[in-house]
């Protein structure tokens, strides 16, 4: 009911403000000696804005602070022996809520409970209605102030456009604030982790064994990043071995060779792969691909675990194929027609043209695309969580289980809210490492791709 009242109030302020501004603008326009600067609807919009913004600010402040104020108010009724015990207090709060709601409670009621319930009900209605009235009064005050300003000279449209521009700027700053938020939160939590474990042990340690307790020297060697980093690099390398040849060659084939009929079928089909959530690739790798690879390994006499770096790498590679192929396709089609024609004109075959003219010309762009693909592989989580076998040990056999930075983040932080132990804080140090690695790759790749685009534009 409360939220309905508030929404109705805001809507009422909005429409009344607009109507008042509009009609007043019209009367002024009709009676004025000179032409109006702005059309009446801009006057209406300005009045609506002046009406709405102060009321909305009051309601927002109330939404933020009301819970704390209400709790403080109830606490003043509760005797100190109950308030001291968290369990009793919670129970008392629940009973008071029920009394205040008129639902009643089972069993004996204490005097202070009834008083608190009664008080809470009064406090709620008084505070709610006073806030609503305050918001309404402020809104009406805004309305009066603004509508008195309406005059032929008033540049209402310009003022409204300034308001719009402020709103747009605010929206585009959210992206910056996100980055700042990421960096600040990762950095501050990682610093807390480095208070437990020295950065040297973290970045150069070769043993990853976070354990479960914080007892003893929770430092030396147990939080070594290298096994995870190696797992990430190995799995990403396998993924690239799959994704780069398949992605690049299919982009070349579809752009240069394929008949329009093949293209209209194959291109959307490959793009479907890009839309499939990574958890589905993970399940597929675990259930189908892993056993398949393990059987193939048994046929040729290699022992391949069903959940291994190879399984995860191949699944990840297939996931990245459409990413590589669509980026390469963009870049290959940007190579000017004249370069191709020149090469074909002096008698080179199509494949010679592609290998010796088109690809070298497109090389910077393609390298950039590969770097973006690598950064995607570094950050991929679900496939490795499901299919890599979670073995954070420094070993070089791709047929064996491995673990990555992302898997360890999930393992260390899942369902944990108490960021006090190095066990959960290490997730932020890992996150910072991951963010740093992908940031470097992305910035270089984006720079290279942009430079390449400018070259041919």
């Amino acid at each position: 009911m409360n939220s309905i009242v508030i929404i109705l109030l805001l809507l009422a302020l909005l429409s009344v403000g607009y109507q008042v501004g509009l009609s007043r603008g019209r009367t002024v326009a009709a009676t004025a000696q000179r032409t109006m600067h702005s059309r009446p609807n801009y006057h209406g919009l300005m009045v609506a804005l002046w009406c709405l913004v102060p009321a909305a600010v009051v309601l927002l402040l109330w939404a933020v602070f009301s819970n704390g104020l209400t709790t403080n108010y109830i606490l003043s009724f509760i005797p100190s022996d109950v308030a001291g015990d968290p369990n009793l207090l919670r129970e008392a709060m629940r009973r008071i809520e029920q009394i205040a709601a008129g639902f009643g409670v089972i069993g004996e009621t204490q005097d202070w409970e009834v008083a608190a319930g009664e008080g809470l009900r009064q406090f709620r209605s008084v505070s709610f209605w006073s806030v609503v009235v305050l918001a309404a009064v402020l809104g009406i005050a805004g309305l009066l102030l603004m509508s008195r300003r309406i005059a032929p000279r008033l540049r209402a449209r310009n003022e409204f456009e300034v308001a719009i521009r402020v709103l747009l700027i605010f929206c585009s700053l959210i992206a910056i604030m996100t980055t700042v938020g990421i960096v600040a939160s990762l950095f501050s939590e990682a610093m807390r982790f480095f208070a437990f474990v020295s950065p040297i042990d973290f970045f150069f340690g070769t043993v990853w064994n976070p354990g479960f307790t914080t007892s003893g020297g929770a430092g030396t060697g147990e939080y070594g990043l290298l096994p995870l980093l190696w797992g990430t690099i190995m799995i990403s390398a396998i993924a690239m071995l799959v994704a780069i040849p398949v992605g690049l060659m299919s982009a070349i084939y579809l752009a240069e060779y394929a008949s329009p009929r093949v293209r209209t079928v194959a291109k959307p089909m490959i793009e479907i792969l890009a839309g499939i959530p990574s958890v589905i690739y993970g399940v597929f790798a675990l259930v189908t691909l892993g056993p398949l690879l393990s059987d193939i390994g048994a046929l040729v006499g290699i022992q391949i675990r069903a959940t291994s770096a190879l399984t995860a790498g191949i699944a990840m590679g297939l996931m990245i194929v459409p990413f590589v192929s669509s980026l390469s396709d963009d870049i290959i089609t940007q190579v000017p027609r004249a370069m191709r024609d020149g090469s074909l004109g002096i008698g080179a075959t199509k494949s010679e043209t592609i290998r010796k003219v088109v690809l070298p010309a497109a090389l910077p762009g393609i390298v950039g695309a590969f770097m973006l693909a690598i950064s995607k592989a570094f950050g991929e989580t679900m496939i490795v969580v499901l299919a890599a076998g979670n073995a954070p040990i420094l070993r070089f056999n791709p047929f064996d289980a491995a673990s990555t930075v992302t898997v360890s983040i999930v393992n260390q932080l899942t369902g944990d809210t108490n960021f006090a132990s190095p066990q959960s804080l290490v997730a932020f140090a890992l996150g910072l490492t991951l963010f740093g690695m992908t940031l470097i790759l992305n910035v270089i790749a984006l720079y290279v791709v942009r430079k390449y685009r400018e070259q041919y534009e």
Binding site: L168, P277, V279, I409, L413, G431
Partner: protein, 457 residues
Amino acid sequence: MATTDTLRPMGHSEPKDERLARIQKSLRRRRSAETRFRIYGMSAVAIACGFVLFLFGSIMHDGLPAFWQPALQVKVTFSPDVVKVAPKPEQAPGQSPAEFQRASLDWQREVTMVNWNRVIQDAVQAAAPDVKLTPRDVQAVVSPNQRFKLRDMFVENPGLLGQTVDVSLLASANADVWLKGNIDHSLGDDRQQLSGAARQLIDRLYENGTIKMVFSTVLFTNADSRGASAEAGLLGAFIGSLYMMIIVIVLAVPIGVASAIYLEEYAPKNKLTDLIEVNINNLAAVPSIVFGLLGAAVFINYFRLPLSAPLAGGLVLTLMTLPTIIIATRNSLKAVSPSIRQAALGLGASKTQMVFHHVLPITYPGIMTATIIGVAQALGETAPLLLIGMNAFVATVPTTPLDQATALPVQIFLWEGNENRNFFEPRTAAAIIILLVVMLLLNAVAIYLRSRFERRQ
């Protein structure tokens, strides 16, 4: 490199026919290189397309059978000998709602205490009169929570006492596994999930038509369940995902479009704009799990949003999809012909009027596509949700965005990890099919809306 040498005349000493032979040889080599290159391309496309077919084929093969599950069609008698309860209480005048609720709860508790397993056993006995049943066998065959179904029927309609009605009772997960052959029938008793007597009972009931395969509606009407795997459904996860998608659409689309408009149409070319641009491009390539870390540190730890709530998940996904929407919207704004802008400005429109009245309407199809791309990406995302506790086991359907919930892809991840692999592997595949269908519908809606918008212009 060798090809260019062959074309150069090698002096007069070389006879004409030798030279011709040399050229023909090199031509053969070049043509076969051409064919090889073409085959590489074709096989890359074939690998990618073949993988798509293989992926969908294996998901369909695993998942489709899980949409049907066995149920016992039995006649249940609510015999007064077994169902011994007092009449349902009614609210007496002067009774407070709390007291009435307590009386009702007492009555419901009494109803719950009835030996419903006995009622089920009698019904199964009637279906297979010549078999000697033990309570354990019956409980192994019928899904455990089906007794609550009978209880709820009775609570709903106490007049059923003494009557006999046709009821469909879901068979247990193990019976499902046995009937579908997902467990090897030749395994010894010690490795079977069901006792020999229970297996015989199932076969017997299946032969005489009591157990029928019915469409698995629980998949769509129930939340997850741990005690009764056969009744585990996706509704809870679906509603959780739905809340998050609503939050993403309500927040990410307006903010994303607004910042795209600012950057593309208003922003002066300076260092700050450059920074925002680089920052947004980079943000689009930041691994999703980093957004999860941001959510854990900022939304959960700092703002104290409830753990596992769709609100926190929705906010994290909003930040994650924002760059995608901004970039796609900017691209469609860039594609608007400058002549439209010039015409609007030439006729005296202000910049804001030009943007909002003339440029923006043309980009609606593009914004629609951007929205769908972003929402589909958010819908399939799993990793960041794991870090804000959305992988908790939730057996209820969330009613508000502040309740505990999970999401469709997270549910897939959770089911994949369930110990009862024989039962949950097909069910995971069924959940994947449902997720893919939802994404497909989303894309279909986008295509439909886009074509409508395009026709209108």
